[in-house]
Each structure stands twice: as structure tokens, then as C-alpha cells.
Symmetry: D3
Subunit: 257 residues, 6 copies
């Protein structure tokens, strides 16, 4: 089976630089996947992407060595199983608030008896090879998003679910859930509020205790480096929409200067 | 009729900062069009875009004040007329080598008696307003690309074609046509060879003499500013593919530093 | 933040003429949005439209002043949140039968602490402006469909949910649920049965008592005017499919007469 | 081979009521094709439709008895042959100005020795049946558009081309070519200028003399009936865009009255 | 109403040869539907197909006499109702494990009072005819997949749900659920393990007792014939992906021999 | 630069087994490309494929080692250059009848001074690597189709064009052009008529004399093997449409036996 690059990096003690795709197109996906990222995540929650476009994006990513992952729109077996069958090697699941929800998520990623994933890896078996069926359960990465006050209360329970590989921090939703109004400085991808920073520290500690990996959404390469230094195992650089908007704005400013 | 922003800027003596779209998607188009560009050009020649995607991109650009333009794949009435009917306010036509070709191009953009454009502005009349038909000939911008040795020989004849609003320099093709091998430093978007630089100067002089505008493909905002200082009236910043690739590379480098 | 036109009309005491889109295409969407409608609703339940097409339709509607709304296929957070992130300013949710379902629906439309909407308004913030995050909760319109006998029993409880802006009557489903067989005259978009008419009156009365707005599906402009006179605040004219079919049929009849 | 309905009607002495598709979608195409039209033409010239969407529209039309036709964007073998291979049973070709152009058009629709159509009716043979190859030359309908002053001068030569089945009048382009400015009353789909009316009469006379059929673009069923009375064999009712816009406008007016 | 071909064959005592579509394209769908199959099922679970593509595939199938069906991705009212509204005449629902789940599935396919399907058969009424509404409940076929150990325990309860027309066996998932590891010979579409074979026999017996029909996924025409002989009423031949891969492999082998 | 597999096989004295894609979808393209073929050709002439779909198909082929090629719809620089920029490594051009046409075709595939290809390999440089520009002229394969009586008369002139790598025989069109009616046994992909067989022999002889390669369209692997034995360097197995139709028909027959 084609190796899961993220798992390999982690097993080698390394850090994963992750890209983020919100544009529903296979060309922008290929450009991002060829840029040197370790993994590329298709954002089906807040990105403008649904399944049919995501399939062509997975194909584009498959040309490269970047590991294909997907952030699904919700803890729902349909997008989870469909994206796995289409060849995603990792799933980031939003809004996992307690053990039961985490079990539901992880179970959707694992064949019985470890879970309840239905069998039919139509494209995954092409991408991974003929032995996908035998190895999928131990290869596919499961990342539960921790982004609510409720999740913070159930942190240990969530992280104790067998088969969970990592947690992924969504700083904005976590900040909002911890009392900071949307649109304020407190509720941004770069957390500044004390209780949010403390929550993130707690997540890192608990993950270390439970032996699972940690990832976090950032807005820049600098942010990722900082989070790596804090201990995170995976960090997401600016997404494709942000790269386009910021790059164009910088060029326009230079042109008019 | 909705004003043609590029024409307005030019009439006011200003310079046009132009964007470039090679990703066949309406979301990336909207992000680019919202970034503050004066105009946005859909590249149907070397971009990965064909008509059906371009229509949704024109709709996305229409949300903003950026002027929608298209670089057609060839001097062919089909893409020229179809893009005008879909609402493009300017056409950049590649490989215009002599007067006859320029007349063919400009004629495709003008209703009789000025040209031979067929009538049926299905979406253009929505975008522009009910008086589009009466004003299209004087509003739609025609830009002929000067990018071959043959065109250099026919510069005055090309620029003398009635109805031609501007020329647009394609530095790489021009360099190749002037003897510099593809893939060498001589054949890049930022021309360095003497004969190419001289040719570009000649284009600027002849355009000034003929009273038409000039545009040029660049790779950055700095390049556009330089070309503005040289006298160009329109400059194209880094395209969407380049912005994505360069932005991601910079973020990855920072993350790993 | 770009104003929500439907909310503005209602605050000014006016009535909203709403359009209905079942064709999964951005061109037909633009034609409808340009026709003078106050709002245009993408029907993702019974229309032939899913998310990816809906995004391009939202872009097309954004060119105009018509307020973009969506009827989601079910009371499910995935389509609700995805359509809001894509720029819908109002959600019509089918089959809201009791208080708990209504809370689930409204909560999906509101950021914490008012609800559980996840943060990431990728395109909504482009459409609305940078202050979308701060104002979305008070701007986005929530309309629960009342279309079952169970909903009639829970009318007051449903309409008491905080954050619910309006109810929307689905006459056909309501008729079927109240005992009229599908395909009969009793189960049509123009209700004729006494118990359905009585139910609709009850909805209007309860909404007036609770201070929320009312909308209803009609089949023609005449139907909308009649419903306005009855007290409804929003009425939906014939959908795009019906306009096409009826218009073509009339033309054919005339041609052959 | 599945019969060509248009040819059958004409052979029976009847008139053809034709529909017009500018929306690039298979659902709107199916609604139109089911409305009772004799034939449905996909407008690839001024409509917002290109080949890939047109294929799904041809499939939708194939569900019904309406004869599928296409107006190609230009007298170019690529769209002509591709649409025939995809199952179009008739081609309307714009801007046929002289005998040579007409021969080029007709030749693209006929296999050797009658023409130079390349063999490979991938979907046409599915739609028509296994004997398509043997019968295509005598079944596929060729309609040359007469819409310029030059074409009027070459009327007899054009209509003398062997294999041409019909001419199709484009009143707006014809009016513009005959001296009436675009956007004026003189240049509309319902011709009013004397020289245009005279030209149309001349077309009818010459077609009668040459024994070929005649079609014309109209804006309504009434217009088609009038043209039938004048002698035309095929008339096109209001297109899909017009039906939507007019239908919505009428409903809105009624709703607000 | 257009007859449901599968129901007709079953009522006539016949067997149904079913095709399987995993390629999200209307051309491959049309080729399959024209091949002589009794029914064609769009696989939205493990196939690479989502709703918007499925709609064009349903249109393609509608050209032929093959009965259109869909395997939905999960027991969820959204895909079930949307596919029925789009014209599917049968739904195969995965992972039906007990009576309650079966009732939820069947209810989504039936209008009240038999179920809770929402009314709005936008395309189904085109495909079926004006009397669709009155006859849909008795025509649309419901097939619950039996593919888990839990379902085996609840076999009688599941098959006792009113309105359930048939069960459909998913041999691979059933094998995995009964203890055979994915990727082993025990967990294949052609069951070999004793307990799986016994389970399948039990399904056939219970279905016979309950008077409902039975279908099963196979990998070849031979497999279907064998299953017919065992008593199944519907068998699925090799899917489109398998036909392509196997056909190409055979041709390559021959070419290189 | 990524090697051109077809060129490598030929340089090693081997034969190329080529696949043929007429389904406009990236999933079927990936299945075909993974089947073991040496090269895969997207048929944009008689296949149901246009550029935008072809781009996603090229991406799918890029996942594998199969060499991506395209048969363009006509000898026109637009599809030729666009497909090369999108990453095709070979172009098969239909209807090359004489030296001038062959020069026009080959010139469109080569940068100056060898030809007039415009520079901008947006995706080709991603697929091939940074040195694409320098090596494209010597790597990209040009194949002219010989399929008319006129081409037979100009065989030596056509094959003498510098930069032409190979000719490709289209047996059906050649047969029709040589006097065999379409739809007869004489005009099939497996030529039987004496004059066609003689013409094919002549093509092989002339190609040997001129030192260029030869390819031919077949309908099966057996046909390819036979043509290899005759001397052809490339043979095309049954296309995707034929594989699907034949495979389904065989399975249905077995199921019903």
C-alpha cells in the first residue's frame, strides 16, 4: 500500500506542513500540491468545495507526493466514507464534542470490527494499491477537531477513543465558544485571549499524555513555525483563498507605488 | 451603459493594473476581482480555461467594479464573439502579425459597418444595460498582441487599423520570435535581451505616434510599476497560478525555518 | 455589512416578492435575479440543485440587488452552514415539526452563544463585507417551513424559538399531511380544502401574535398578490421551471393557432 | 434510423415550431423539449452554451420526440462535426455569405463523396440506431443563415448548393448589415425597415424557386404564426432566456399590483 | 404513469439484470443504459457520483427503457428524496440494521400517510407523467441492504416493514461484519465463507416467507446467473469501472501476446 | 524533463499499445490509464470530450506512467496548443491532406524557429518539469492522420515535413474517401477492401522510407497485435465506449443464459 506520508513523518518524529484548499478546482489543487507541502487538505466545511469537485482535486493531489486529506463538513458518515473511498488518506472532522461523537467519527473511518465503514474503496484502492483493504484501518488518519467549550470538558474522553490519531485545533470556533464575539480580535485564527491560549495548552498536554498527535489551523508560515515550537505536530499555512487575495493585494500595492 | 472602467481610466490619463486568471473557477475569479484590480483578464490561451468556465468567471467579476476582459486563444471569431456576448469589455488577441490579421481581429469586435460581429449580446446586455447595442462599438476595448518578428515589421500597419484601441506586449513570445531560445533567460516575461528591449521601445514609440494605448505582461507588481514608468498604460501583475505557487512556497519556507 | 434586503423591506412594512430557482445554472439564476425580484431562493430540496451549482448561482445573484436565499433539502447543519458560508442571506428550512427541530435549525444559523454555527464565512464575508462576522447573527434570516400536522400542533412552540424570523408555508405538503391525497386538487400549491385554509389562517394569526413574519409558496403573481392581501409578508411567484414550461406552451399554442 | 422529425413534418407539408436554448443546462433543455415543440435548437453562437454542456442538453432532448438541432457559433468544421457526432439532427450555420462558404458548411455535414465530414458518430449512432452511417447524409438537415448584404447578393448561388436543405433568416444581423444601427428599432428580431422586409421576401421567393425550406428567428408565438402565414416553414419562438425574463416580470407585476 | 420496469418484470415472475454506475458521467450512463439492462443503478455510496452528476445520468437513462435506480450513500432523507424527485424509480439503501432504520428508509420514499416524503417531484413528474403524484407510493421500489450481523439478527423485523419491496445483499460488507477481514478471500463480492453463505440462504428464506423480493451484488454475468438459480430476483453485473478495467486489460494482453 | 514514454519505447525499438478515451470524465480516464497501457489518447474529435473535461483527464493520466496524448478535433492551432499547454505529450491531428496542412499542424506543436507555437506551458511545465521549455520541441510527438485519397496522393510530401514524428491511420475515413460507403463492411475500423489494404501498405512503406513511425486505430487487442505484425509502431485498442458496451453486453448475455 502506498504509504501515508503524514503518518510516516510523524513516525519519524517530524512535523507536517499542511495546505488548505477552499477553491473547488483541480488546477489550483495541483499547484498547491506541487508546492512542497507535506499534506494538502480539501476543506469541505468552510471551503467552497463539495464532493464532485473534491474527487478531481484528490486526483490532482495524487500526481504528487503530498498526502491527500479532507476536512469534512460535519460529523456525518456520508462525506467521511465518500472521501475515504475517493482516496483521502486522512479526515479532519469538525465539532467533535464528546466521546460518543468521537467514536461515531472514528468508527466511520474504520472497517469492522474496529468501526462501521462500509466497504467499497473504488478509487482509494487505485490510489493506494491492491492491499488497501487489508491496511486501510491502520493507515487512514483520523483527526478530531477540538473547537468548543464542551469538547474542552470532555478532552480526556475524546482523546481516549481507540483509533483516534490526532486532534486538530480550530482556534476561531474555540474562541467563539469560549466567549469571544465573532469578528473581534479575540476570535481569530491567531488566538490572543488568555482562556483560549490556556485551552490550547491543555489540548497539547492531554494529547501528549494520551500519545496522540496535534494539528492546528494557522494563517501563515510564521504561524506554523511558532505552533511547531509550541509542540504541534501539524500546522496549516494560509489557505488558497488567502494566498490569492494577499498576493494580489501586495502586487497591486507595488504596482501603484 | 455601464462604463468601461479601463477606457475611463485611460481617458483620465491613468494607468490600469490588470489581473490574470488561468484557474478555471469562479471563486478564484471573484477573489481576484475583489482584490482591488482595475481589470481582470481571463486567459483562454495559456490559462486552463475554456468558454463554459469563463462565463461563470465573468459573472463573478461582474459582482465587482473590476473591468472584465479576456485573452482569447487565437485570432478566431468564435472565442472573440462568444466572450463579448458573455460580457467581456475588452479582448486581448494573441499573434496579430499584420494589418490583415488586425482587421480580422478588430472586425470581430465591432458591429457593421465597422466590423462583422454578429448580433446577440445575450449576457453583455444584462451586464451593460439596455443600451449596450448602441454603444458597444465605442466601448469594447480591442488589444492586439505584438509578439513576433513579423508583427514588428508591420508595426505601423497594425497600429493604423481603425478601431484598434491598444497593443499588448507578450515579452516571452516576442523574445523567442526574435531569436532567443525558450527556457533561456533571454526568453522570459521580464525581457533582458537588447533586441527585445529595443523592440519594446519601438512599440511604445509607434503607439505614441499612432495615439493608441499600450499594455504588457509582467510577473509582479514591481514589474508593472517599472513598465508604467517606461510609458505603458496597462500592466499585468503575477497571475493566479503564480500567486498561489509563490505564496505557498514562501509560507512553507517560513514554516520550516 | 451589505444590508439584508428582505429584512429591510420587512422593517419598512413592505412585502417581499420572492423568486424560485430549480434549474442548476448560474445564467438562469442571473436572469431571474435581474428581473426585479426582491429576493431569489435557490431550492435545494425539490429543485435540481446541489451545493456546487448553488455557489455559482449565489455569485450570479450577487451581481444584483436581489437578496440571495436558499431552501435547504432538510433540517441538517451541512447544507445550512455551507449555504450561509457561501453567501445566502436567508435559509428556508423544510419540515420543522416541533420546538426542538426549530431550535436545531435556528442554532445552525447563529454563531455562539446564540447557536452552534461554525465559523468560516469564506464567501459570505466577501459578499457582505469585513463586518459580516459581527453582524451575521442579526442579519441572516431564518424561515421555518410549516407543512405538517405535527407542526400545526406545535405552532406556538415553534414560533417561540428565539432567533426565528419567519415561517414559510408549504401548501402542498401541508395539505397531504392534513389528509389530502397527493395528485388531487386538495393537495396543490393553491390550497382549496377547508382544513388547509383554516390551518393557514391559524399560522397567520399565531405569527402575528408572536411577532414573526410569514411567507408562502404560490404558483403565480396573482397568487402572491392574493396572499399579500391575506397578510403574508413574502410570496413566491412561479418557479423557473414553471415559467419556462408555461411560457413555451403559450408560445407554441399561439404559433399553431 | 430514428426519423428526423423536422424532415418528416416538411415532407408532410407542415410547419415546424422550433425552440431556442441559450441556458447551458440539461434540465432547462428537458423542460423545453417536453413542452410540445417540434424541434429544439441549442444556440452555441449567442447562447451561453459550449460543447460539453450541449452534449448533456442533447441527451435531455433525446428523451423526447422533439428533433435536436444546433446553431453553431461559426462556419467551422469543429463545432459542426462535433455536434453531429453528438446527435444533432440539424445544423443552423451563421454568416453564410456566398457559395463557397455554403459548400464548406454543407460539406462538413456530409460524408464523402458528398462532403468531408469525418466518420465517428459516437453518440449519433446511439441516438439514431445502427444504420445511422448509411442514412446520415440524407437525414441530417443543413440550414444556412442568410443575414448579410453579401448573402443577399449571392442568394441564388447559396441556395444552389447541393445538399442545402434550408435557409434560416437572422433578422437582426440582416438589418444591421442592411444599414440599420444596432439597438435601433430598425435592427430588431421583428423587422420593420422596408429594405429588410423586401430582402426577406426575396429570400422566400428564391427558396421557393430553388425548392428549399425556410426558417426564421422570431420573438413570440404570434410572430411565428405571422411568419408561417408569410410562407416560412420553420419559426422559432421566444428563447429560454426571454421566456424566463418575461414570465418573471409578468408575475412580479401581478404580485405588486 | 410510466411503468416501473423492475416491478413489471417481478410481477411477471421474471428476473432483473441490473447495471451499476460509479463513473459520474452521463455518456457512460447512456452507453450502459442502452446495453440491454433491465435496470441501471447509480451508486452514490461507493461510486464516484454525487447528486448533480447523478441528475444528468438519470436523464441519460431516461432515453432508454432501462429502469433508473439509485443506491444512496446512507439512510438519510436528503439523497433519498432528492433522487426520487429527480426521477429514480427505485432506491437501494445501505446499512439497514433494524426495523426502525427500515421504517425511516421506507418512510422517506412514501408520501403521507404511508411515509414522510416531502412533495415536489420536479423531474420525476416529467419522467413519469402527470399522474406521478397519485401513483408514486405504489410504484417506487424500496430495497433495503442487508449487510451486517445486526441486520441478520433483525431480519424478520426488517422484512416486516410495510412498504418494503425488496432486500439487497451486499456480500462484502456482510462478510466483514460476520468476521472476515477486508481484503481477504472471505470478504469478497463472491462469498465463500460458510457463515456468509448460510446468512444469504437465510435472507432468501425469510424474504420468501415475507413475500418480498431479493437482489444481490455480483461481479459478472455468470455470477448473476448463479444467483438467479439460487432464487434471487435481481442481480447486478460487473460495474462500469470493472468493465473498463477488465476490458482494457484483456485487450492489452492480446495486443502484447 | 519527464520522459515521453512513447518516444522512449520507439527509441528502444518497441511497440506502443494505446488507449482511447471518448468519455468526458477523469475517473474513467484514471481507470484506463492505470490498466497498463503505454499511452492514452483523449479523443476530442469523435469522442464526447472538449477542453475543460480534457484537462481533468490529463491530470488523471498524470498520476500514472501512461503517456498522455490527444486527438484534436481538427487541424486548428487552438486545440493543439491548448492541449500541449495542458500537458499532452503527443498530438494526433485528423485530416492532414497535403504538405501545407502538415506544416501547419507540426508548426503549431513547435516553438520558433521550428514552428509558431505560442509560449505559456501553464500545466505542461508542472507535469514535465522546469526544463520543459528547452526540451518540448524535441519531446512532444506529432502524428498526422492519413485518412483521405488526397493524403494518399501527397504521402511523400506529408511525410517529408520536418518535425513530423509519425502518421496515424484512420481506416474508416480512409475507406470512405477511397469509395466505400459509410455503414458498409468496406468502411470499418478493420479494413477489408483491397484498395484500402493497399493504401495502408503504401503508408507503411513510405513511412519506413522516410524514417517516421506509424500508428493505427483498431477495435481490439487482437487487431493491435495483427497490426504490430504488419509493421505498425502503435496500435489503439477498443475505446472506452466500446469496452463498456461490449463488456455489459457479454455480462447480460451470461446472466440470461
Amino acid at each position: 500500500m502506498r504509504k501515508n506520508g503524514v503518518r510516516e513523518i510523524w513516525e519519524g518524529g517530524g512535523k507536517v506542513v499542511n495546505g488548505w484548499l477552499a477553491i473547488p478546482d483541480s488546477i489550483s489543487a495541483e499547484v498547491m500540491a506541487r508546492s512542497g507541502l507535506d499534506s494538502v487538505t480539501i476543506d469541505m466545511q468552510h471551503g467552497l468545495v463539495e464532493y464532485q469537485a473534491a474527487v478531481t482535486m484528490l486526483q490532482a493531489i495524487s500526481i504528487t507526493d503530498a498526502t491527500p486529506m479532507a476536512r469534512v463538513p460535519w460529523n456525518d458518515p456520508i462525506p467521511i466514507m465518500k472521501m475515504l473511498d475517493a482516496g483521502a488518506y486522512g479526515i479532519i472532522c469538525p465539532m467533535v464534542n464528546n466521546r460518543e461523537e468521537c467514536e461515531r467519527f472514528v468508527g466511520a473511518c474504520r472497517y469492522a470490527p474496529a468501526g462501521y465503514r462500509s466497504f467499497g474503496p473504488a478509487r482509494a484502492a487505485m490510489y493506494a494499491g491492491a492491499d488497501y483493504a487489508a491496511n486501510a484501518n491502520s493507515s487512514v488518519i483520523t483527526m478530531a477537531m477540538i473547537e468548543t467549550a464542551e469538547a474542552m470538558e470532555n478532552l480526556e474522553a475524546i482523546m481516549s477513543v481507540e483509533g483516534l490519531d490526532a486532534v486538530y485545533v480550530g482556534p476561531t470556533d474555540l474562541s467563539i465558544s469560549l466567549g469571544h464575539a465573532p469578528g473581534t480580535k479575540g476570535a481569530s485564527l491567531e488566538p490572543v485571549a488568555d482562556n483560549v491560549i490556556a485551552a490550547i495548552d491543555e489540548i497539547l498536554s492531554m494529547a501528549a499524555k494520551k500519545g496522540i498527535k496535534t494539528g492546528i489551523q494557522c494563517t501563515s508560515g510564521d504561524g506554523v513555525r511558532d505552533k511547531f515550537q509550541k509542540g504541534f505536530d501539524l500546522g496549516t499555512i494560509a489557505g488558497d483563498l488567502r494566498l490569492l487575495a494577499a498576493g494580489a493585494a501586495a502586487d497591486i500595492k507595488a504596482a501603484r507605488s
